[in-house]
């Protein structure tokens, strides 16, 4: 592999990056299958502080995966719950009332107890309350940040110099994601037609997933919960985020093959999350790994 040269601002010059190398993470597929299997066997308790639009769907996705959801947002209880959970999701989709304090308390308890937590900075950028809150929470050290290209760009403070409108694909923010991951220690998982996930060194792309996944509300948000469930069963958070993304995308492809309407697709998606074979998740996800070439 060639060596990428960081530019003056620390960004990796993409022209010197190696291309994807399927051999760069030889054991990835069986490891992904193991994560799926392990979630089903250990049924981790996933504490979700999430938005009011997707609470029900998220809980059902977590249950379908074989894990156990707990949705407690009030600061009077969120610390107790987060400290007792196997993983925590903090999703900023509809921040209201004292939910920000509930998130702070939960993150503090999770950190104190060594519980991995996932940050989903939904729609940050233009909306002021959540943008500031995302920046604050990001400083507290999530295990994984999950978002789309625009959200990852906004979390990075707009670095990259592109307008939001052009941020259509995860690869558009590849360097920003690498930079964020290296600076924070968090895995950055960028959702899109081809998902891109990185821990700052390794980069995985998931070449799976159907457009219908974007026609059902809460798929991205519940993916955040699924990432948390997977982070409960492996310390390799890039593997956890990859397994969760592969699981959702492959279940979506299987569901879409039989259900072209968004209503019945959403139902079938939950069914397939529950019954897809671990090996199928690994084999059908179109996983391609590379190394960014820029060791810290």
């Amino acid at each position: 592999m060639s060596t990428a040269v960081p530019g003056p601002d620390g960004a990796v010059t993409s022209s010197s990056d190696p291309g994807p190398d399927p051999q760069s993470w030889p054991g990835l597929a069986p490891q992904v299958a193991d994560v799926v299997r392990s979630v089903r066997q250990s049924a981790p308790l996933v504490h979700c502080i999430t938005n009011v639009v997707v609470t029900n769907f998220t809980a059902n996705v977590v249950l379908a995966a074989g894990a156990a959801p707990a949705m407690v947002a009030t600061p009077a209880e969120s610390g107790v719950m987060a400290g007792a959970a196997s993983a925590l999701l903090v999703n900023l989709g509809t921040v209201e009332g004292d939910q920000p304090d509930g998130m702070r308390v939960a993150v503090e308890a999770a950190t104190a107890s060594g519980v991995p937590w996932v940050l989903d900075p939904v729609a940050i950028g233009a909306l002021p309350l959540r943008t500031a809150l995302a920046a604050e929470l990001f400083e507290r050290g999530p295990a994984v940040v999950r978002g789309n290209a625009s959200e990852v760009q906004a979390l990075a403070g707009g670095r990259g110099g592109r307008g939001v409108d052009s941020l259509d694909t995860p690869d558009d923010v590849r360097e920003t994601a690498l930079h964020l991951a290296r600076g924070s220690g968090a895995v950055v998982a960028v959702s899109g037609t081809v998902d891109l996930l990185t821990d700052g060194v390794r980069v995985v792309r998931v070449h799976a997933g159907h457009p219908l996944l974007t026609r059902v509300t809460g798929v991205g948000c519940s993916l955040g919960a699924l990432v948390a469930a997977c982070a409960a069963v492996t310390d390799d958070r890039l593997l956890a985020a990859t397994a969760a993304t592969a699981w959702m995308c492959v279940a979506g492809d299987l569901a879409a093959a039989a259900h072209p309407g968004p209503g019945s697709f959403a139902v079938a998606l939950v069914d397939r999350l529950a019954d897809v074979a671990p090996e199928a998740v690994a084999d059908l996800a179109g996983l391609v790994a590379e190394r960014s070439g820029a060791a810290a």
Copy 2:
């Protein structure tokens, strides 16, 4: 057409009203089809401030229609969102916390930006908080008010002289709806077995829709969001409300034909909203237009 004579209180004397005249809006059907087509093509951003029972279903209905939902209720963000949206829905189903302020901020921003907004005064009348809030918001000039006969009656301050129990059908509040529309400039859309919609001059009835639509929570509420989506693509708000109502009713009839249970009906309803042909919406809705005969 005969000319109706407004009574002393401005109400139209129904005995002098003309009967429905299918020819009074000759281009209605193709215009309805155009609205459906236009929503799918332009994917308007529909900002929904709605109740906690129906957020998920409403977002999925908006997505199925081809539009994009955004659910932001906090006053810290609702103005930014409403100003950037293509249309706004304000639904009073579960007004809690600072949601009233979130609605006020959103309506102010929508008004300032020329964004059409829909008011759904859910269950006003007996419940004090929402009844006062509906009256206040109604003064701010919604493009469309959508409700059932009792809600429209309550919004009019109880004029009409009938008890709530007898307000079974939209035609029971026909004159109240006309009066409200003329006084406010808003289109008034009254849902029921036969839906009645008016801008104060034109009256449209939709002779479609299945009883199962009343066995699924959120159908009426998500119709409000669909009206908003349609209002984003045409300045004729009566046409927008008619197209949305026809879309929901025809999708409901198609779904009910194959799914007699309310659970599977709800799923199929979302599927049919997504795939029903624009011409089918127009042709199967049983649209009948008339002119009230009382020019302003």
Copy 3:
């Protein structure tokens, strides 16, 4: 039947309890069928103050049962609604903001109007806010308390001497449930693989229900609403709780027979709640009644 002897603390000595006696409530099955029939015929208005995860599913379950849901939590309106309703559910799943006050106001209005209300103390025990609130509300005299074994144990203040981890089945808390029921006058309905319900004298077990019921979020919570619906049509609250439990379990068994995935199972569950015959609910529920033998 042998006579059980209460111990020094009032607890029934289990060794002297009679075994289940199918003949101890000869008219139970037709009475259960009558309750189902009556809910469908009278369509009671069920006021639900419940958690944000399950509002939509709960409303759809109530509608599928033939009743009418109303979800109003704000203290500005919850008293008006509760006083006008046929029954009330208070579910502590996500107590936030001013919901505790909304519950207090609703319970007070329900009590004043003779409206039966159901308490569902979700996940009390470890979580402090809801545990204290459950204790407070329980003092106000619910018609029925519905929960799992751990929640019933926690409501009783931990009496019984077992750790939470061992409280796997309703029969583990049989004596606690009897004691709670006798002390409060409330029916105590304990959900589990075999459900156990008691008014302190009679004990009913429901030997029905499928594991998939635990793979869909909100089934237990919506069972609370169904208990409320049934309590609206009979003054015998043990009968009401039994009918609701039988209804949910039998619908679940019928749904699971055709839908092994949790997504499609949830949809079919709603369908079966709507169309299951009243006699089937009674006959397929595996109802076994006994008398505890300790008359008050």
